[in-house]
């Protein structure tokens, strides 16, 4: 029994189809990474899983009593909204003080409980978001490009934190990333998305898959190739070499 099953999911915004016939499942305790170029529907997939967008086709099934912790892509806190970290972690439901401290410790920021959200650094903020997602011991963590705006060291240490959390709590992780090289080593499974599932498998399998290479190129230059990707790609070695 998977924690979450996505079957034949299509998502449309108006006339624009961003996802078509995507199927995937996340089993207990595994780390699944979704990679794909900008506009490939990664965020829409996550939003469909949390129920923020309605599928045009297909369905998303959550296992019974599966708790989801969600870390959004970015969170803009308006300057006019005063909010301490503790208050933020008590939203929308109030939580025992020890649970808050435990979540902050797990996320690697044990001393921030009294800080104002607007005064945190990027890395601290992401960890506070992670702490909020960890409250209530989720079975599945969803992370949407959680390291956007962090430098390379910052994001590497953030992903180490995620791995540590997974080891400690055994929760599954479904995350989106464009930072392939940092993420892939930690993942059990990688799904390459470009409006549809191009290919999936273990990091090694995906890295050598022709579909993946067509999307990202080969070698360490791959991360750059991502932004030059053309949507009408052809799953073909010869094309990839261009």
């Amino acid at each position: 029994m998977n924690l979450v099953d996505v079957e034949g999911l299509s998502v449309r915004y108006g006339a624009r189809t961003v996802l078509s016939h995507v199927s995937l499942g996340v089993a207990k305790g595994e780390i699944v990474t979704i990679v794909g170029p900008n506009g490939s529907g990664k965020t829409s997939l996550l939003r469909a899983i949390i129920g923020a967008v309605k599928p045009a086709q297909g369905k998303v099934t959550r296992g019974a009593d599966v708790k989801i912790g969600y870390v959004p892509q970015k969170l803009h806190i308006d300057e006019t909204l005063p909010m301490t970290v503790t208050r933020f972690l008590n939203l929308p439901h109030s939580v025992a003080a020890e649970d808050i401290q435990a979540a902050l410790t797990q996320a690697g920021v044990p001393n921030l409980s009294k800080s104002q959200l607007s005064q945190l650094s990027g890395g601290q903020f992401q960890r506070v978001l992670l702490a909020r997602a960890l409250i209530g011991n989720p079975d599945l963590l969803l992370l949407d490009e959680a390291t956007q705006g962090l430098d390379q060291r910052g994001s590497a240490s953030f992903y180490q934190q995620i791995e540590a959390v997974r080891q400690e709590t055994g929760c599954a992780v479904l995350m989106i990333s464009h930072e392939l090289h940092v993420v892939m080593s930690a993942s059990d499974r990688v799904i390459c998305l470009n409006g549809h599932v191009c290919c999936e498998g273990t990091p090694a399998v995906v890295a050598s898959a022709p579909e993946y290479r067509a999307l990202f190129g080969t070698g360490t230059g791959g991360a750059l190739a991502l932004y030059q990707h053309d949507h009408d790609h052809n799953h073909d070695h010869a094309e990839a070499a261009e």
């Binding site: 939003r47 949390i50 129920g51 923020a52 989801i68 969600y70 959004p72 969170l75 806190i77 308006d78 006019t80 909204l81 005063p82 909010m83 301490t84 208050r87 933020f88 939203l91 929308p92 439901h93 104002q116 969803l142 949407d144």
Partner: protein, 265 residues
């Protein structure tokens, strides 16, 4: 006690200040200031219609304010920028309202009292309406407080917690319409937004949590009412604008205080 018009005026102002405080905080946090303005301006059309059909002004103003707010909700994100949309709707509603009022030749109405409020003429009945409306708004926002805050922070965060941010937006819209309707008598349609925004903005530098800010905004609103009324009495100035002036001075003081403190530390 209620026989004294000054006491009734103070109670009316305090009632509106209590409703405006938590709502005003959301208006500030969600950058809905212009939305509040638009809803209030539309209310003048409601006033005209209710006078024409000899209905309660409160009901008419609330109905039109609600329709206005819902229309804006519905139309937002459909091709026009929000401020353009609000500008068109708010000012045309105000203009149609003013024109409609001019047709009401049979009834003598003092338009100024609806544009700028007539807090000194608040009757016992008005007081009942204002306090019931204020109570309703406070209960509504209090009931949805956590859900409203979560959706204000981030819509996806709300969805992930099984909160529908669209429904919460509707709650705010309804609360706004009620507040506009009860505040017309106190400050008039032109200054309602001031009563929503200024106490909340003045409370911001003094607060560390959203709840603290709402309470501080309430205190500042009530204080402004009492001092403003007193000033109006002594200086023989219009009461509604005097209240807003005091609130504005509070804002000035609290923001100066904050910047003075933050440069020292």
């Amino acid at each position: 006690m209620l026989d004294d018009f000054m006491v009734r005026a103070a109670l009316a102002g305090i009632g509106v200040a209590i409703a405006a405080a938590p709502l005003g905080c959301f208006v500030v946090w969600r950058r809905m200031a212009y939305f509040g303005d638009a809803t209030a301006h539309a209310a003048i059309l409601g006033v005209a219609l209710s006078l024409a059909f000899s209905m309660s002004v409160f009901i008419g103003a609330m109905a039109v304010a609600l329709i206005m707010a819902l229309t804006v909700n519905l139309l937002s994100g459909r091709g026009y920028a929000m401020d353009t949309l609000l500008g068109v709707l708010a000012h045309s509603a105000l203009a149609f309202g003013l024109v409609a009022v001019s047709f009401l030749s049979g009834i003598r109405i003092d338009l100024m009292s609806y544009l700028f409020g007539d807090i000194l003429a608040v009757s016992r009945g008005d007081l009942g309406v204002i306090w019931s409306g204020a109570l309703l708004v406070v209960l509504l926002i209090g009931w949805r407080w956590s859900a409203l805050l979560t959706s204000t922070l981030n819509e996806d965060l709300a969805y992930a917690s099984e909160i529908n941010p669209k429904r919460e937006q509707l709650v705010l819209t309804v609360a706004l319409a009620i507040t506009v309707a009860v505040a017309i008598k106190v400050v008039g349609v032109l200054l309602i937004a001031a009563l929503l925004i200024i106490p909340a903005a003045a409370a911001r530098p003094l607060s560390r949590t959203p709840e603290g800010m709402a309470v501080a905004a309430g205190a500042i609103g009530m204080l402004s009412t009492v001092i403003g009324l007193r000033a109006a009495y002594v200086l023989d100035t219009p009461a509604g604008p005097s209240i807003v002036c005091v609130a504005a001075i509070t804002f000035l003081i609290s923001s100066t205080l904050k910047s003075a403190l933050s440069t020292r530390s």
